[in-house]
Assembly symmetry: C2
Homo-oligomer: 236 residues x 2
DNA sequence: CGCAATTTTGGAGCGACTGCAAATTGGGTA
DNA sequence: TACCCAATTTGCAGTCGCTCCAAAATTGCG
């Protein structure tokens, strides 16, 4: 239980490296800072840096396990009778109201987003993390609903939900970067989020169908009529 | 119009490099082959390899533009009155029936999948390509439906559709790698694809809601009742 | 043939990352 | 206090992907 000097120093060193690295990245961009510079600024050797962080990208993207757990907990601790989507809707709006970081609505999130989008390698690693989070959420959903291992539905549900929240997060970052005042974006975002979650719940079946009155109806009926004699197309 | 010796040689060299690289990757794994080896095997200098291919990963993942165009064309050339999802359903099943490569249902796709999943950097690059394709499709959908630039719906639709087809493709690869006979997987896959597209059309709103008879109904009603006095949760 | 444009090549160098052996440090023990 | 073991840090050499640059080699053309 008690913590020796050794362990404390380790934690301090790790923290110092991460902090000084973040500082350097913020002021000069991820790609314009070398690991050697980080090491020098943190007063350790390059090897020590790689001792604590597997890759340079990990210096920037810590907290990955945190985020994965946050996502799975939404499903695991949802109210009785609450659907997965409803649970995420609730959690998302809560984060929005509190300005919590877990969906990217904290102040200063733009800087983070800018840095990621400016560096190809960083963006790649971010996608990898998203992918891991998605797998974790899919597994949690599958376990919660007792779905088979080869059932694609949990993975699909996870994809849709995280896809939506990711999109909303990016939208915030984008407009925030453009200089729009935070509260204004957030107000508008609530509307978009509501519409997005509604869409998840109701499906996107009719999206893109050109509805031009009688003309469209005609087309639709025609398409329905040839169901029988067409080789392809009757897969519903 | 006519093609000089110079251009032909260029094309031949490029092809030779790509072919010999693919052969090496297939036989020894992506990470276990260096660019220098590829160059030596193709009888060119390392610089020439990087002259034709921007990165080592590009030696493996060519055809990226092809795929992006294929996806956008599904939307652009869909039948009048046909929804986006319906168009993809049709295209997907057509590829399935023809054993076309564009969703990963060609024979030998397992080898490709295995190589990608075995190499972290290759998987990262593959994700990046998927991301680009997604953006392209979202743009096409937005243009087709005349949606605003900041409308999130096209992006969401693109995400859902590509997410589904990607999932189905991976599912095929997985079982094919496990040794299951191709036709058996494909038959089963048709069923799953139908269910998947249906889910896209009908939404995932109720997914994960625990319906245990009277008990569940009780929960549901209870949740509904507290709509008024709860601070959070009324975002629909 | 001879000139210009294009392509290929070699070489030097950078940066992320690995492996290893030596040096340093911390925590207990005699 | 002196000493030893184990964990941690460090230096060093080396690999690999990739870039930059200038010098060949090749091709097209008058």
């Amino acid at each position: 239980m008690e913590e020796g000097l050794r362990e404390r120093k380790k934690r301090e060193t790790r923290r110092r490296i991460a902090d000084v690295a973040m500082w350097l990245f913020m002021s000069r961009g991820f790609d314009n800072v070398t690991v050697a510079e980080v090491a020098r600024a943190a007063d350790v050797s390059v090897n020590t840096v790689f001792n604590y962080f597997g890759t340079k990208e990990d210096l920037f993207l810590d907290r990955r396990d945190d985020l994965r757990d946050l996502r799975t907990r939404v499903v695991r601790e949802r109210a009785p009778g609450e659907s997965v989507v409803a649970a995420f809707r609730r959690d998302f709006f809560q984060a929005l109201d509190e300005g919590d970081w877990r969906y990217g609505f904290n102040e200063g999130a733009e800087v983070w987003g800018r840095l990621v989008s400016e560096s190809a390698s960083l963006a790649a690693r971010a996608r990898e993390l998203e992918s891991e989070i998605e797998e974790g959420l899919a597994a949690a959903i599958a376990e919660e609903t007792g779905a088979d291992d080869d059932d694609l539905t949990p993975k699909l549900v996870a994809q849709h939900i995280l896809g939506l929240t990711r999109l909303l997060g990016r939208h915030y970052t984008l407009r925030s970067t453009a200089g729009e005042p935070r509260e204004e974006i957030l107000t508008d975002l609530r509307e978009r989020a509501r519409a997005g979650f509604d869409l998840l719940e109701s499906g996107i079946g009719d999206y893109g169908r050109r509805s031009l009155g009688a003309d469209a109806v005609e087309h639709r009926e025609a398409a329905g009529d040839e169901e029988d004699d067409h080789v392809e197309g009757d897969h519903r």
